[in-house]
């Protein structure tokens, strides 16, 4: 297995692949170029990204690239499916909570925003219009999108598919949200360490995952101080505030990265009380949640996660 590591999307990126060295060198380069180009397209932290231009165009139709259209379409569909527990229109709420610049900058300089009301409207995503024929997006006036997690998952999956053209088996991990293609030689699964959210240097267990996606949402990371309040980046769309949940993190194994990202976030926000109902929407996903005591939780079939889980890759 060959590796390449670098930093993008405010995350540690790991490319892992098996195959001939010459072929992998080109595959790594193309996957890395794709990730860097996609970050420039989807980031909300620059004035020139396509996402920022879309947000500025709210109230009018915006002609988008195929990539942005794909992700916005996915985000709207999954927001409806989770009945708004995942909502891509929470950018104003995130900024009001203090997440108004990249996490690398917040860690270095702190947040500049003071706590204020976001003015977010619940379920604003339902008013977004998509014109597939002309590949155009219409955001309601005043609505802005944050595609953070779902875009990161989508980028990891697309980059893995690029790399897979040059590899026998490969994985692309973007800060622990990953997409796996094929299986390592002589292995029946990919071993993925499940990080302990209370002690990130330690793993709670090893997940044995087949081809497909793994994503984790956590309230233990991306935290900052806003006045006297500890804030985190998982906004509960029902309140417009950082979610109050009895779980620290939720990891989801799913056939596709966007699905894993969205359900990890929805399950984390819903917590133990709503987990069964949320997970029932998608029988093909498996989740493992970690509570404040480091205890693992999951649905009836989740115990298999720590043995062997095979996900059909479509």
């Amino acid at each position: 297995m060959d590796y390449q590591q670098f930093r993008a999307m405010n995350s540690d990126i790991i490319l892992a692949a098996e195959g001939s060295r010459d072929s992998l060198t080109l595959g790594f380069k193309l996957a890395r170029d794709f990730i860097n180009a996609s970050e420039a397209r989807f980031t909300r932290f620059t004035d020139t990204s396509e996402l920022t231009r879309l947000n500025r165009a709210a109230g009018a139709w915006f002609q988008s690239s195929p990539e942005l259209f794909d992700v916005v379409q996915l985000a709207c569909a999954l927001a409806a499916e989770t009945n708004g527990l995942f909502d891509p229109t929470m950018l104003a709420a995130l900024e009001a909570a203090g997440y108004d610049k990249s996490m690398d900058d917040i860690r270095a300089y702190g947040t500049s925003a003071s706590s204020r009301s976001s003015g977010s409207t619940r379920s604003a995503f339902r008013a977004i219009q998509l014109d597939e024929t002309h590949r155009a997006i219409h955001l309601p006036f005043g609505t802005r999108l944050d595609l953070g997690g779902i875009a990161k998952g989508w980028i990891a999956e697309q980059a893995a598919l690029v790399l897979a053209e040059y590899a026998d088996a490969c994985a692309v991990s973007a800060g622990g949200d990953m997409f796996l293609v094929g299986l390592p030689a002589a292995e029946e699964s990919w071993p993925i360490g499940l990080e302990d959210p209370r002690a990130p240097d330690r793993d709670l267990t090893t997940l044995h995952v087949g081809p497909g996606a793994v994503a984790t949402s956590s309230i233990a990371k991306r935290r900052w101080q806003q006045g006297r309040r500890q804030q985190h980046h998982i906004i509960d769309p029902r309140t417009g505030e950082p979610a109050e949940t009895d779980w620290l993190s939720v990891s989801v194994i799913a056939p596709h990265a966007a699905l894993a990202e969205v359900y990890a976030k929805a399950l984390l926000i819903g917590g133990s009380r709503e987990a069964e109902r949320i997970a029932a929407q998608r029988p093909e996903i498996t989740y493992a949640a970690v509570d404040f005591n480091g205890q693992l939780w999951g649905s009836a079939q989740t115990e298999e996660v720590t043995n062997v889980i095979g996900v059909e890759y479509a």
């Binding site: 590591q5 991990s173 622990g176 071993p191 267990t205 984790t216 999951g298 649905s299 720590t306």
Partner: protein, 95 residues
């Protein structure tokens, strides 16, 4: 008076001499100190500690009923296994 003083001096001198010689003899027959590290083990015997009886098993049913209001189940994961490949390990935990 001078005769009494003379006798007293002789008595003190004799007592001192006897005391000094007695102390010398006592120390000469006492055990000598040993330099650090010069000890030698008497034998290799190791004291065995008795092993306590088996710990009582956890009553999972009782734990389950304590959490009956929650619709999800908890489970104990097996220990972390080592990666089968060399360098960066794939891990998930949010970012």
């Amino acid at each position: 008076m001078n005769k009494f003083q003379h006798k007293l001096r002789l008595l003190i001198a004799a007592g001192s001499t006897v005391g000094f010689l007695g102390g010398w003899a006592l120390l000469a027959h006492a055990g000598k100190p040993v330099a650090a590290g010069a000890f030698t083990a008497v034998d290799d015997t190791v004291t065995t500690i008795s092993i306590p009886a088996n710990l009582p098993s956890i009553d999972f049913k009782a734990l389950e009923s304590a959490n009956s209001s929650v619709n999800v189940q908890t489970f104990a994961p097996p220990p972390v296994t080592f990666q089968s490949f060399g360098r960066a390990r794939l891990r998930t935990g949010g970012s």
